[in-house]
Subunit: 296 residues, 2 copies
């Protein structure tokens, strides 16, 4: 059967990096894309960039959409505008793109159970396309962002299989690799491989600043000598501060657990340096060296 995104208009709420990239690829693939944005200036720029077939600041733009993608920042996703809720078409499949899944599922299950005939919750598919760049806002969307990237869905026992299938077809049309797992496992995993690296890199920048200030020749030398290795290690740690905070806030327990693992790993390495256990240190670094290709 023809995928839902080809049969009926697709709504996209928010045209930042993820929403804008979605809109570009979907319109290029021939979909009718109806986008809702917050500010008139964003709408005007989104029209200029061709991010959707139709762009409006009026939630009524979503009328008639068979599938709606909520491409909102986490805080607005967890506390959505009542006008948006009221404008979601009855019977539509709804999905989100948030980087944390447990809190989104709990919140939207509750919101959709209270709306309409209460059946909307079964057509909510929590999902997370794992693609990103350092950019944000209406200028950030780019074609092909999802190609080859994981797109994770976290269905529950009550999720309508047809709704899940509709989102899978959307993700695969964009070239993403489709995966399903439960929300808790997702949040646990992203704490380790996505949220922990933000704090690890942020702390490295602050340590280099604090330590450099003590050097005889000052902070300038530390900055002048930093090379591509330092730049890479701190890329996500020096990224969007609000996003970093929101991810930590929405995934606090899993992040604290990940930080515990990290602290123990680093303390073990530090003890080897302090204790001059050089063959143990080399073995430990060999283990890290062998582990890395599995994560690429």
């Amino acid at each position: 059967m023809t995928p839902l995104w080809q049969r009926e208009p697709v709504g996209v709420v928010g045209l930042g990096l993820i929403g804008g990239s979605l809109g570009l690829d979907l319109t290029a693939a021939g979909a009718q894309v109806r986008a809702l944005v917050h500010r008139p200036a964003t709408a005007a720029r989104a029209r200029e960039r061709g991010l959707a077939t139709e762009v409006s600041t009026d939630p009524a733009v979503l009328e008639g959409c068979g599938l709606v993608v909520l491409a909102l920042p986490l805080d607005r996703l967890l506390d959505p505008d009542p006008a948006l809720l009221a404008a979601l078409p009855v019977g539509a499949v709804i999905t989100d793109v948030g980087s944390v899944k447990g809190p989104v599922l709990r919140r939207w299950r509750e919101l959709l159970a209270a709306a309409g005939d209460g059946s909307g919750a079964s057509r909510f598919v929590a999902s997370h396309p794992m693609a990103g760049t350092a950019r944000a806002g209406v200028e950030a969307g780019e074609p092909g962002l999802f190609r080859g990237r994981p797109w994770v869905a976290t269905p529950e026992s009550g999720t309508d299989p047809a709704a899940l299938e509709a989102v899978r077809q959307l993700a695969e049309a964009l070239g993403a690799r489709w995966l399903c797992c439960d929300a808790e496992a997702h949040d646990h995993a992203v704490a380790l491989i996505s949220h922990l690296p933000v704090l690890v890199g942020a702390a490295l920048l602050q340590a280099a600043d604090a330590g450099g200030g003590e050097a005889a020749e000052g902070a300038g030398l530390v900055r002048a000598l930093a090379s591509s290795g330092f730049a890479d290690t701190t890329r996500v740690g020096g990224g969007n501060p609000e996003l970093g905070m929101l991810m930590a806030r929405s995934n606090r327990a899993a992040l604290l657990e990940a930080l515990g693992h990290y602290r123990r790993s680093l303390e073990t390495l530090e003890a080897m340096v302090a204790g001059e256990q050089w063959s143990e240190l080399q073995q430990s670094l060999e283990r890290s060296h062998r582990l890395r290709p599995d994560f690429l």
Copy 2:
């Protein structure tokens, strides 16, 4: 005056990433490059790759060189072959490319003071071209590796200004940015921006492995979801284990100090997450975000 590297043959000891890249650029610039390597198979491959004008396993190849670059791994640089020492031409300018400068200076000052008329120590210029890739060995050398990269020298009060100038001319001929500072400041800085990131990234890989093993759906999910952010944050941490160990061993005190700064920075961020101090966390991440461009 014509630079020393143009007037007299240049010796290169070791043809790994740094030595091989040096040889390629210097021969391309018209220098006579005489390279000493350890194994006959390396010599044969280096000749095929055109890494030097002449390649030999016999230290006598260095005869007549006005400038000798010791492009050896740190352990062999700190404990050089007596046959190499005996073959260094009397009166030649000697420089090294090691990533730690204090221990190299102390060791070579002592070695050269004991050799010949004892004047060799004044013509030893400790230096560190800050260029690298993940590659090592005779296949690793590549043209243009030093272009735009810092090349740090750490002269002492007894260093012959003409020797320092000869090394500066060599570095600048390769397109590097020349900097001088004292050895202690150098070692302090590289502990923060080069050696600390190795341990930070290595610990992250081990934490992701340890934490992933506990997830309901196992370690596979953590690996499947890791994206470019995780790859970047762990690039140097998953690098050459022996090099990582040697850097830690040669720069232990400065590295332990850097680890102390790091631990304090990370603990502060962790306490904000644990204490749900979200605006403080965002401010701290904003600080990291503002710091990073200074290091690029």
